[in-house]
Assembly symmetry: C2
Homo-oligomer: 315 residues x 2
Amino acid sequence: MNINEEILKLDWDRDPYGLYEPIEYTLASGGKRVRPQLAMIASQMFGGRDEDVLPAALALEVFHNFTLLHDDVMDKAEVRRGRPTVHMKWNESTAILSGDQMLIEAYKLLSGVPRRKLAKVLEMFNDMATEICEGQQYDMDFETMNRVKEYQYFEMIGKKTAALLGYALKIGAYIAGAKKKEQDLLYSFGIGIGFAFQLQDDILDVWGAPETFGKAIGGDICCNKKSIVSITALDMADEESCKELNYWFGQILEDNTEKIAKVTAIYDRLGVREHCEKGVKRLIDSALRSLSLLPQNEATEQLRQLANKLNARKN
Amino acid sequence: MNINEEILKLDWDRDPYGLYEPIEYTLASGGKRVRPQLAMIASQMFGGRDEDVLPAALALEVFHNFTLLHDDVMDKAEVRRGRPTVHMKWNESTAILSGDQMLIEAYKLLSGVPRRKLAKVLEMFNDMATEICEGQQYDMDFETMNRVKEYQYFEMIGKKTAALLGYALKIGAYIAGAKKKEQDLLYSFGIGIGFAFQLQDDILDVWGAPETFGKAIGGDICCNKKSIVSITALDMADEESCKELNYWFGQILEDNTEKIAKVTAIYDRLGVREHCEKGVKRLIDSALRSLSLLPQNEATEQLRQLANKLNARKN
């Protein structure tokens, strides 16, 4: 079953067009469809039927896209996946309302899971959705904080990014009839690669190759965004470097060339990159250990490859 | 069981505070709690236990308040129930995100209904939520339309206002074990009083007494808002009156005293008020007929009184 095709098969040709067109636009804009795929793979690992897990897989993808839509309004982002964001192409009210409807559509899709699994799946989905809103709130709170501690940053990305991956796997496994212990191991794997993915993203934002990263390098430095890199740097820094970093993190500039160069030089001097990369490797190793305790079959192998690809990723 | 107390008992003292405080603020701001009460009364009509319907009743109230929160952002409303709206007191991102979380909380509450009723209640709740978003979209679409037909207006308020009342009753009845036919009669009653409520609101906006209406009189005229009054007036108007109305509906003014007086005079000349009031009476009579086909007990009597009060309401 090709999950991307299933997503594009969803029919949004309904009245009022102004409500559903932005939903179609958002879901047609691509993305890697990682979350629904994780749900399908988890189900396959336990011999589940694709059609049983499909409603939940689609619900997860629609939910994920809903969060992007509303996050883009909150972040005033103008471009997403190479196209204007919904609030730019239409307007903000449209982005709010079509986003709300997307969240409701996610629950509609979810209601299609096998009936005797519904209550538990709904509960897991609600918990997942709550974590993501909480994560977004922490992320917004961080903007006005001078210093964010590493454990706070981990709590934030755990909720905002990792939870959805963990729950996608857990829900898929549950629907396929996996035992509680197996669901939990898959959840751990998902959380681990979710953390690793976000940290890798933070690292590539500083040291990625512009031609493969897909975003401008140094974006986090420009807008003084908290990331594992900036947090680690402040933790590792001597008094002098700390002062220098805080000076730059207090600047909002038109031309960021010098700022990016200077801050990156401090990161390099402190050995921040190596430290963060070790962190990513530890997370992936731990995720792979969870995986090794699960049934070994084609699905497990797919997840293993995903984790290894993540470790080597450049974009 | 006092539904207002149950709503105020919901505990929002959680981290991150920035996410949950606006939810608590919104739910503590009062309102008549009509929707959860309708669910409870419908359940009582069929001998249902209050505790079985309570999760759905709470979910309906939380959902309703979520729609108000996001509608206020879209409408840029500054005051709600005598207090600053969430996006004024905090900011727009907070209003969007806390609203999203309220919608998720509604689904969390809903998941507490008796398990073998859950699938059907979830389905009804999803249909209801969809209608409300669609209604809001139509309402926004109307802002940029020159002329809205009566049937379009009815479709809009049917979704935006009436559906929630109809579904509150239907869901309450279903949980209490009412037959399909009985659920449908209650749904009809709810839709009928929902329509009547909105039309009465439109009428009072023009002819209400300032001291009892709670809002400034003539608000719809000032901002050229489509209402049953303006739509009926254009339908009843001769060519000359039509021209006059369209002239005024094209004006955006600082001081609306003359505009309100002139437009109201045209409405009076055309006999719009009597026409609209007859419409309200017809809707209520029809709603009462649905009620007469249902079991007659204390609950039915409460709904009858509600309908009659609506007919005579001045605020």
